[in-house]
Subunit: 270 residues, 2 copies
């Protein structure tokens, strides 16, 4: 399909957009592969999301109602769930992510990418998918550190539980997840999670590390030296020309009150 | 590939196995499609899991270390993450699940199934995958009602937070998830989540309803009449010959202390 890709997500407050939502994992893939995309969070305002919330969106009849944004619209196809969208993009655009070239605006990578789209006949597709899902599990657990009880209540209403949850996340969960990624990076013959080179899973891993450096700076300063392969991957992705251009652009919104939040009382060395 | 499928999971206490783990979603797919599989939780004891925890498992060199069981071994391929395993099976065995026939032990469905394995060129694959991921999100939230703070601590150590979390799950989250499924079942031209008929996503939905009926019987008794399409799907799957045979067999373990736990103090009408 040569249809345009449209990422549908809640619009942020103008000038105070929110980098730390699940949509950012999808943006990173578009940016890293040089794939043109429309990002309604930046262009469409909240009215762009409304049809997907009330079910009046256009597309093929058999498109289900999404549970929640982010939503991907591609021609007549409408799909939701972040790891599902990432897999759709990997199987339709590119199996591997080129971290060497690019950096100029709008440079199309779709043609080259299409030739090497991921296939379900390749075990690597399911290896990348498992890594991405584990990163998104960590992302969800990070969200729950400031919202352990109820997603619709404020942090302040669940602060006591948040303090406990964050302490466990810092001491038990962060090392457990990081060890999993570090062990796999040691085992891989490339500098990436898969031996075949960078995939969307590495982009997801970059993002969760970046978010945790914002949310838990004290804890990360303590942990980073223990996971040199992970931090090398983080720096490598950050310096990739297309990623670097994206991070320096207005398309990369700031962290504030999304998944990755910095509450000093939730952070700590241990 | 004609290799055998091996589901690797922790062995339960003999005679007191645990139905309510993520592995049950995978078992249901094998059972519903009549696909032969080895279930190490029943046959291999805990020693069958050890190689996947310590990384000494055999298979292709490029198989990553899993984050946690369940793990699927299929020939030289080793993959993890429940929704990822389900998608692997759907794309390798069968796109649709036959709820009409079968019921006898070991009846092979693999040949017929192979002809209609899911394809990434079909949007329905990603629709089914999104539904399955949403069901598994609900499953995870149900787990967190008794473990809102720390997965490695006991329920009793986090009971205050659990009471709050369960109250929110019952009043806000259960209706939100159920409405999503009911709305989609109303919209579908079949009695299943996808218009094309039953898929692994419907099996997942059956399982989460079954588990919630065990864990939250009061709340479910109140909610069930509000979601007639959902409950019709639940009953339809439950009565499918192969599923019925499975549920009545020793292969279907009992609920006890897994994801779906019945603590009367966490349940309630509202």
């Amino acid at each position: 399909m040569s249809d345009a890709y449209e990422l549908v997500y809640h619009a942020g407050i103008p000038g105070r957009g929110e980098a730390s939502t699940e949509a950012v994992f999808i943006r990173l893939f578009f940016e890293a592969t040089g794939t043109p995309y429309v990002d309604t969070a930046l262009t469409g305002g909240q009215s762009a999301v409304k049809p997907y919330l009330d079910g009046s969106f256009q597309g093929a009849d058999e498109n289900p109602l999404p549970f929640a944004p982010p939503v991907l619209k591609h021609g007549n196809v409408v799909i939701s769930q972040t790891p599902n969208i990432l897999l759709y993009l990997a199987t339709h655009i590119a199996s591997s992510v080129d971290l060497e070239s690019g950096g100029t605006e709008g440079e199309p990578a779709a043609k080259k990418a299409k030739q090497s789209a991921m296939s379900v006949d390749d075990a690597a597709t399911f290896h990348a998918n498992a890594f991405a899902q584990t990163v998104l599990d960590m992302n969800n657990e990070c969200h729950d550190t400031h919202h352990p009880i109820a997603v619709m209540k404020t942090y302040e209403e669940q602060k006591d539980a948040a303090l406990e949850k964050a302490a466990d996340f810092r001491s038990a969960r962060m090392p457990k997840f990081f060890k999993h990624f570090e062990d796999n990076l040691k085992r891989s013959k490339s500098d990436f999670l898969l031996e075949s080179g960078p995939t969307f899973a590495d982009l997801c891993l970059f993002q969760v590390v970046d978010g945790l450096k914002f949310a838990y700076p004290k804890r990360m300063a303590k942990l980073e030296p223990e996971y040199p392969k992970l931090m090398k991957l983080y720096e490598r992705v950050k310096e990739a020309p297309r990623i670097k251009a994206y991070l320096g652009s207005e398309r990369r919104q700031k962290y504030s009150m999304g998944i990755f939040r910095h509450y000093p009382e939730l952070d700590g060395d241990e």
